[in-house]
């Protein structure tokens, strides 16, 4: 059964898109990330124009984040103050990102920038997670007992920044500039890559800010709602690249998949989960890099410009 996507201007098989949404939903349920970083490349692979995949991805992420954050809110896993700081940086970042997106689109470099951002960020994060999970796997084998004496987090130059604030839920006393800065950078990514930025935000909060893991996912989801809402609004007004029909199909599959994934994830060990996610992230990154480096089948490509046909 086929359905016509009005903004992407193509027909797709409903079940294929629902299945894709469910597949990515299962992944995000298991690993606790938005799944946008898998969804956008999959949509592009399906033939959806890259800008529409990005705009629609941002829209779809709102739904999955709202659904996820409510569950975390009930468990008290959202640090509101931290979320608001990340958010204030994120709104500025994602606004800037959408303008950068529009500018790169006119230059003809948007596809390259989207792919390069994926290669770089997925590569770095995949490698970091891999190293971390390998370390913890080794540690759990040796059963060392020195862990209890570790500090909550290491102190470094970042703790010398001004405007310090006490984040109670996160048990942190750090500068407001840190979460604002991280929010800003992730906001740019959100707009350019069509991802919620969870896969960048979560490691940054754990490793850079030193937040306790239990509040990280909820807080990250909380601010992703607003950042991706901002990106959706701007993509819709500036570029007209948000396809609500496609977004609806994806999120129906996505929310069902996420629930299944959450149940599956509960049965796996944390270290195994992280190493699996690391492998997946590295594979996606490797594939995208491979595509950029090998000689393409056709060196030439075409884009239609200024098409407003069909408007009354």
């Amino acid at each position: 059964m086929y359905i016509y996507l009005p903004i992407a201007e193509m027909s797709v098989n409903i079940f294929l898109v629902l299945g894709m949404g469910a597949g990515v939903g299962v992944m995000s349920g298991i690993f606790g990330v938005g799944g946008g970083f898998l969804m956008t490349p999959l949509l592009i692979f399906l033939g959806v124009p890259a800008p529409v995949a990005v705009g629609t991805g941002a829209n779809q992420i709102i739904a999955s984040s709202v659904s996820g954050v409510l569950a975390h809110w009930r468990r008290g896993n959202v640090d509101l103050m931290m979320g608001l700081m990340l958010l204030s940086g994120g709104v500025v970042g994602s606004t800037l990102g959408v303008f950068v997106f529009k500018f790169l689109q006119t230059l003809g470099q948007i596809d390259l920038v989207i792919k390069l951002s994926y290669v770089i960020f997925l590569g770095i994060i995949g490698a970091l997670m891999m190293a971390e999970s390998l370390r913890s796997l080794l540690r759990s084998h040796r059963k060392t007992s020195g862990r209890m004496q570790r500090k909550l987090h290491q102190h470094n130059w970042m703790h010398g920044l001004p405007l310090k604030f006490r984040f109670r839920k996160s048990k942190l006393y750090i500068s407001l500039l840190l979460p604002i800065g991280i929010g800003f950078l992730v906001g740019i990514l959100t707009a350019i890559m069509g991802v919620g930025g969870g896969f960048v935000m979560v490691p940054a909060m754990i490793y850079l800010l030193g937040m306790p893991t239990n509040v990280v996912v909820g807080t990250s989801l909380f601010q992703i709602i607003f950042v991706s809402a901002n990106a959706t609004f701007l993509q819709a007004t500036l570029n007209q690249t948000v396809d609500v029909v496609l977004a609806m199909l994806l999120l129906v599959g996505g929310v069902i998949g996420a629930q299944i994934g959450t149940k599956l994830g509960a049965k796996l060990k944390g270290e195994q989960l992280r190493s699996l996610l690391a492998i997946m992230v590295l594979l996606v990154s490797g594939k995208l890099l491979f595509d950029l480096v090998i000689t393409p089948d056709d060196l030439y490509s075409i884009v239609t410009v200024g098409e407003k046909a069909g408007l009354p």
């Binding site: 629930q259 056709d298 075409i302």
Partner: protein
């Protein structure tokens, strides 16, 4: 030869199409028993609805005497940027680009002729019969060689996405006078006004021509979505956000109950 094509001013094509349009208006008045060529489509409106998976239209008509029939379908004109990738620091990125103006968004041709048409090259070019005769105009100042590469890439890309058909289709003869051809409209066609040009070729020239318009429109829910997205982008953006947020709330509520 290519160079003259590049520099050919826009006005030329306009006056030419106006002339054809005049011919079209004139045709019904001259209808009589010895009308050399009459052709029509079974449907002048292709509606892109939610379940649209392409459409096959039937073109039919009659002709007087001998000769070959050629049917050329043009989609609404678009401006197209063609880009070439080069290896920069190990990765392939877009470098050079050429802007082509007024390129047909869709193109297909069909004929009764089994072996090449009995027409001079100038006539083939004038009526844009065959992929190699599609008019690709640019204001960019580029060498002939560069033009050839970029023009070829436009044809190649359009063929790859199924908007230009690589081979000429078949117009079937039924007896001495009747002919029919199917016109395939694929799922990814752009909306707008298409022209279906039917030509009667006899003795190395175009003996008669008829142009039939074809309208491709979005209809129903999809059309409304598209229109809202372009006419009321702010409203559309807010609606998209609200829908997604409500869907998230609903999902959470449902799975809490389960």
């Amino acid at each position: 030869m290519i160079a003259t094509l590049i520099q050919r001013p826009f006005a030329f094509r306009r006056s030419w199409s106006r002339c054809l349009f005049g011919l079209l208006l004139f045709l019904p008045m001259s209808l009589s028993a010895d009308e050399p060529l009459v052709a029509d489509l079974d449907n002048h409106l292709v509606a892109i609805t939610a379940g649209f998976t392409g459409e096959e239209l039937l073109l039919f008509g009659t002709m007087q005497g001998d000769g070959d029939i050629v049917v050329v379908v043009h989609g609404p004109k678009q401006d197209i940027v063609a880009r070439r990738k080069d290896r920069v620091a190990g990765i392939w990125m877009n470098t050079e680009s050429v802007l082509f103006k007024g390129v047909p968004s869709f193109y297909s041709v069909a004929t009764t002729a089994k072996t090449g048409l009995d027409l001079p090259a100038s006539a083939l070019r004038r009526h844009q019969i065959g992929l190699e005769n599609i008019r690709l105009l640019t204001d960019d100042i580029i060498s002939e060689k560069t033009y050839d590469f970029f023009a070829a890439s436009v044809l190649r890309s359009k063929m790859a996405i199924g908007l230009y058909s690589p081979d000429a289709g078949i117009v079937e003869r039924r007896g001495r006078q009747l002919f029919r051809a199917s016109v395939m409209i694929p799922t990814n066609v752009p909306v707008g006004t298409y022209t279906v040009e039917t030509l009667l070729v006899r003795d190395g020239q175009i003996a008669a021509a008829q142009t039939t318009p074809l309208f491709v429109n979005k209809e129903g829910f999809g059309a409304q979505v598209f229109r809202t997205a372009h006419m009321q982008p702010a409203l559309y953006g807010i609606a998209a956000i609200l829908i997604a947020a409500l869907a998230g709330l609903a999902a959470n509520w449902i799975f809490q109950k389960l």
